[in-house]
Symmetry: C2
Amino acid sequence: MNIILLSGGSGKRLWPLSNDIRSKQFIKIFPTENDYESMIQRMYRQIKKVDKDAKIIIATAKTQVSAIHNQIGYDVEISVEPFRKDTFPAILLAASYMHEVQKISADEIVVVVPVDPYVEEDYFKALGKLSKQAEKGEANLTLMGIRPTYPSEKYGYIIPKSLTDISLVEAFKEKPEKTDACAFIQRGGLWNAGVFAFRIKYILDRAKVLLDYTDYDDLLQRYDSLENISFDYAIVEREPLIQVMRFAGKWKDLGTWNTLTDAMETHIIGDAITDRDCENLHIINELSIPILAMGLHDVIISASPNGILVSDKEQSSYIKPYVDEISQEIMIAEKSWGGYQVLNIEKESLTIRVDLKAGCRMSYHNHQNRDEVWIVIAGSGKTIVDGAEKPVKMGDVITMQAGCKHTVIADTGLKIIEVQIGKEIFVQDKMKFELGN
Amino acid sequence: MNIILLSGGSGKRLWPLSNDIRSKQFIKIFPTENDYESMIQRMYRQIKKVDKDAKIIIATAKTQVSAIHNQIGYDVEISVEPFRKDTFPAILLAASYMHEVQKISADEIVVVVPVDPYVEEDYFKALGKLSKQAEKGEANLTLMGIRPTYPSEKYGYIIPKSLTDISLVEAFKEKPEKTDACAFIQRGGLWNAGVFAFRIKYILDRAKVLLDYTDYDDLLQRYDSLENISFDYAIVEREPLIQVMRFAGKWKDLGTWNTLTDAMETHIIGDAITDRDCENLHIINELSIPILAMGLHDVIISASPNGILVSDKEQSSYIKPYVDEISQEIMIAEKSWGGYQVLNIEKESLTIRVDLKAGCRMSYHNHQNRDEVWIVIAGSGKTIVDGAEKPVKMGDVITMQAGCKHTVIADTGLKIIEVQIGKEIFVQDKMKFELGN
């Protein structure tokens, strides 16, 4: 099975755990044997479990690449959008990559799967069936339709021509009023889960008609100028021959705190204590300080270095305009090599803790407008400062003037306190260099 | 007027803003023109406003001295208990200090006042009357009785012989059941506010009978071995000739989050946003990250570097056993010279931010088991390291091996990132030295 795993989205609705650089699929909330996994980790693992030979390509924007490497590792194919676009350009880019770079035949089927529903193994088995159904060539597009569990007003509906498991599609209906939703359900209407199976050739041919481009590299070059349009609008709505496959298993959209906590198996993640009078309370605490909750009902508490949310669960779905008011300074970030957390902010200084995974390194870079000091607080490795290599261990202090090129390479897991000093401290003040002379 | 201001107590009930080293009277929650003031600042200011010549001595334990200097300044008399004891030894020590060190005549009246009720100016005018009443010598002890506003089960009651404003005391009743409380109130019973006026001589004479000591210095020497007993038990309950003065003005005991927030004039202190559906919500946020609260009713949210409390207001009075479960690591401290905050904890390293007020210095000290690195992140001053003085400014790095003596003196307000490195890092690993050769 070939899968394009769509990993998009920004994260205002799950603030403070998601934000401009950490989308909701990277929040670790699902318990595993010793730890917690994120939506993307869970889905990647589930696909591989059901089909160990599945060829997965993650279609995403540049800003998520580090987090994906951090959570899934380096042994993963990623189709990186140079600019964030809607689903049509993103899917097309990934399909082109599959065909031209990965040399997958254009006659093969690919299944497009969003990264964020909460599902079980039966869902991935259904994806396999969907792929096989598409293989038959009875339609140009084969969609998965979720059997509705209530007349939701926030999903799109697929109206099938018949009530069979596989049916031609009669119509699509966008987010209906409740009465219409009830009527759709009575007619066998299904939720559109954003899962599409098609022959790679189909999308490449359609794109050649719609867009003026020659090949993958050309597409990448022109990406910025491509129309920002959804796959539904560009392809699905214009295609007369579509089949839908009914899926009646577990499928949950975890887009709000209310739905997300609904899918959580534990009530508390992180350091927290509750009294006996708490009911239907969920706490996710990513801070290193304890939370004590007393006498709360139907509440979500979510804390990270970016901020603290305390909300009635129902109310939490209206979070977006409030988060818009809050400064989205990035206080914590996962990188392919580890991550960092902001510890202190002053007018002309910033202090962060940098964590490198064993064997990893940050890029060789410099800054124009700030000096930096590193103090190694755990582990060992080596630094390269203006070309000079030096082993470092706990307690070592490295000072770097603005302009000086530097990197650090972790032998063991390595932790560093980095103090940045300068009148203008911006993340953007960073120039990367090739290592070696 | 001579006043012994009793500043005792630890702070579990107002966790996380109070803790083992910061009692509730140091939490800044009362708005002033530009800032917030604490209970102790408020009370000190109020006394001075009503009687600018009042001689105030603050009776407290060693652990609070730094915080008192930080909040009230250095121009304040403090009677420091070498060990924390109950009110009888603490009051006796302060009275001895007044008489022997401050040379206040033993014939003068002193009024003992707890630091933590929330009161207005009329309370301090009443203290003046109480002092004058005690001066008349009609009784050995003159107490203030608060007119009850409800049949509380958590206060002690004073039963007067008559219903006049000043009356002899018939009996004391400890924390009664509600029906008894109602009966006491019908008989004119008053809450015991812990305010006592007496001639200094009276307490010194009584103490000489009860304890074997010669003078103030001797008392200080023997302090550890003194019986740990309350003033009520040691003195009040054994004294037959007591008067009580009725006080009907505002008096609030701010011992729990519920009562404390009741006295707050603003609903939000610190960085926080609430939606329109929040009702009777109070937020005190001492963290540098924002809090967003949605759809909460009758809730207190209180956040500091020590932890985060989210509690139903009623429920918050049962906080103590839960706080007992929480590690009371000190994450933030106010010192006479400024303060510090813990930013990061590793197994063998601790990173803190040290803030010095302009003109202030920390003690000249060393550590046996840890190295330290200072990076100046704001301001300027000078360091003395093993006797060598050096000016420092933003960006300067100072490294200190274990054993090396050091201090820093702030010219302007000075901020330092201090990284401690060592296998065993304890606050106690600190030896102080005199400066100079």
